[in-house]
Amino acid sequence: MIYQFCIFDRGGMVLWMGKFEQLTKVSGSPMDLLVRSVLLEDRAGATNFACRDYLMEWKFANEYGLIFAVLYSRIYKAHYAGQLLENVKTEFLSQYGETIKGGNYDKLDLSPFSSTFRIIWKRVEAASNAKPQEATPVEQRKVVKPITETPVLAKPIGRTDQAQPVIEKKEQPFSFGNDAPTAPDAQAPRASQKMTKDDLLKKIMARKNKGKSNEPQSAAPEAPVKREKTKRLPSENKSITKAAMGALDHSTGGAEDEEEQQVERVRQQFMEAPASDYDLIPADESELNDDTVAEVQDDSKVMSFFKGLAGIKELTKEDLAPALQKLQDQLVGKNVAVNIAEQLCNSVGASLEGIKPGSFSSVSRLVRSAMTDALTRLLTPKQSIDILSQAKSVKKNEKRPFVVVFCGVNGVGKSTSLAKVCFYLQQQGLVVHLAACDTFRSGAVEQLRTHARCLKAELHEQGYNKDAASVAKYAITTAAKSNADVVLIDTAGRMQDNEPLMRSLAKLISVNSPDRIFFVGEALVGNDAVDQLTKFDSAISTLAPPQSVPRHVDGIILTKFDTIDDKVGAAVSMVYATGQPIVFVGVGQTYMDLRKVNSKALVNALLK
């Protein structure tokens, strides 16, 4: 069942739209969402997009700057949607293509196209109904191969490398904020989303780490694994990467003076040691600057005139493939997760297919420039990452402290990052309180206490084996009473697959509704980064107690950024996986070693 069909340009103007059924239960427009979360974020390498009970498919006509999109019911699936898109595109372009290339089509009256559309639709639908398979419910349907000249669009579950004529190569369906299109159970959307995401990730893991263990290990190989510390929770991996942190563990039950020594040692290490002079050296920026020119949807006819004159042929998938493959390898070489590098390249490929390259630009230049744009778009935060003014604003307008939860797997540097953020906020004159909600790992509370003493920040703690959510609750209430500006909450490190622990994190978040949830991850991790982050992100919303407001990770802190040279790919993987920005990177051992990242410098490092 088709709800809507839409033809629009990249500038955002809808040229023609048909609405055929009343949409229900959709806040905002699904087409709007498609643009924002698929086309903009370069997920266009996927083939469809789910939004509540609807599925969307789309097709580019890059040479005309147009996008064709169709919205249909997930339950009464329009299997012919791909064919419909193809046929409508062909017909539309043959009628109006020339005018549209001319540039001035704003006032073109396209209402007559409505009847043309109906004819095409009926024809494609009839052809598809002629096949018995169509009656089968979505879940049981097998992959249907295209037979006649109007092939049925089958949506394979999973990957197929088989080339299909007319229809683009089908990738894993992409879903955003809702359950995946192939999920059979519409009643439990979040759960089924998780399932398909997991499936996807498993598949990727299996493909990439054939020999390796299936259980993702986040700790760096050289990190010492302290098994003897696991008495409180045997299943937890207790790796601590920093020697200093390791030293702190021993302070458990130490005498007063020993603790003093600890504070002194940490002070020396974090405050008095010279701060890192780390910088990510940007390559020559001149190449980046002329890219905006290509982004302008100009109404001048000059360019198309010359392109037409030059008689250059349109780029095909095959033309683009070698350059894209090279670029993909390069991204993977920079530590971008393999599947994400692939998706990015697919998306960039999709946006270039059908374009006539200017006479002076080679395919590889074109591909690189499009990738530069895509990565810059991706890595430039769409919302502010300025927590300082946000904290001040909350305090001023709502008269309560700004609350930030730090979460992540073990040993990535959560507490250190928290201390750095604390230091930064204190430098700006804010009163920061810390809450020790890692009530699992022995030594964790002491570690935070030592930081708190160095930083002269108030610490709220209740020892071990307490319910982390209520420790946090108490800390926030007390901090509010003493007029604190910010409360930073340290949580226990946990592996993303440890469900009970993830559930308790979800509870902590839903009970305390923090203003920000920061995920702390290592810049060193490659493919695993995505797994960690997506599982944390989905756990926070799916495992939360019923009736709580669904939350997501809303910022990323990357640690050990100084150790990765130009292999900054984890930044791309993590931002792509959640759409959330890198708020800070840690670039050294001292409290001063906290930085923001410049997206252009990142892009340069990735593509140089």
Binding site: F8, R10, G11, G12, M13, V14, L15, W16, S27, G28, M31, D32, L33, V35, R36, S37, L39, L40, G65, D106, L110, S111, Y278, D279, L280, I281, P282, N289, T292, E295, V296, Q297, D299, S300, V302, F306, L309, T376, T380, P381, K382, S384, D386, L388, S389, K392, S393, K396, Y424, Q427, Q428, F584, V585, R595, K596, V597, N598, S599, K600, A601
Partner: protein, 252 residues
């Protein structure tokens, strides 16, 4: 050589020369301020954008696209005739903030749009973008004039008085004043944290940001050296006189 090939050769020669001219013009255009930019935030799926593309289409065609608008992925650009002179107007997509930085160098005037019916909920985001616009490049140094256009006045007029305090405020105070107050409040917070922001890795080549206003005083728009105009209107209702006036002043 017959006539058609020589004709073609001539055409090709002309083409090359014209291309060269365009190339030179584009090259020197980096430093040339020849466009009016329309800037403002995008929506988030639930709520709508401020209406930049709608404004550009209105300027260009004196009507709205029949089938409506979606979020923009690229810059929309059009040549608008003001007092018989052509002016390039560019609508910068709110979803692609990375485009703004480079385009600011081409601005000879800026139309900053806000949605006055939702200013209360979005003042922060609006102010962040405004802060970026004012402090990046040389917008303040060169005193580039700016119109702060409070769009969607139609929605305010039609809402019942008790809907929310914000809307009542707006009606009593007039859009401009209320918007001004909201933005000033947020800009005060943003600018103080902008100076104190942590360093940026790889930011050595980043353009130097200016400080907005005077350090010792609470921020007021009067402290900005540029000519700032506040005005309200409704693109949908075709009420964009302040925009036309601004464009005429800027191109004169």
């Amino acid at each position: 050589m017959d006539l058609s090939t020589s004709g073609f050769a001539l055409l090709a020669l002309v083409a090359v020369i014209v291309l060269l001219l365009i190339y030179i013009a584009a090259g020197s255009g980096k430093s040339k301020r020849n466009a009016i930019l329309i800037v403002g935030r995008s929506g988030t799926g639930e709520n709508k954008s401020v209406g930049k593309t709608a404004l550009l289409k209105q300027l260009k065609n004196s009507e709205q696209p029949k089938y409506g608008l979606l979020p923009s992925l690229v810059v929309n650009s059009a040549e608008i005739t003001v007092n018989g002179k052509p002016v390039r107007v560019m609508d910068v997509p709110g979803m692609v903030p990375s485009l703004l930085e480079d385009l600011l160098d081409r601005a000879k005037g800026i139309i900053f749009m806000v949605d006055s019916s939702e200013i209360r909920d979005h003042a922060r985001r609006d102010a962040e973008i405004l802060h970026d616009v004012l402090t990046q490049g040389s917008i303040m140094k060169e005193k580039i004039p700016m119109l702060i256009f409070c769009n969607k006045s139609d929605l305010i007029a039609s809402s019942s008085p008790d809907v929310s305090l914000g809307i009542r405020d707006l009606r009593r105070e007039g859009c401009g004043d209320a918007v001004k107050t909201y933005l000033e409040r947020e800009l005060q917070l943003i600018r103080s944290s902008a100076v104190n922001a942590v360093e940026t890795a790889g930011g050595t080549k980043q353009k130097q940001k200016e400080f907005l206003g005077f350090e010792e005083e609470v921020f007021r728009f009067e402290h900005v050296p540029n000519k700032l105009t506040f005005a309200s209107g409704s693109v949908i209702k075709g009420n964009i006189d302040p925009v036309q006036k601004f464009m005429a002043e800027t191109t004169a």
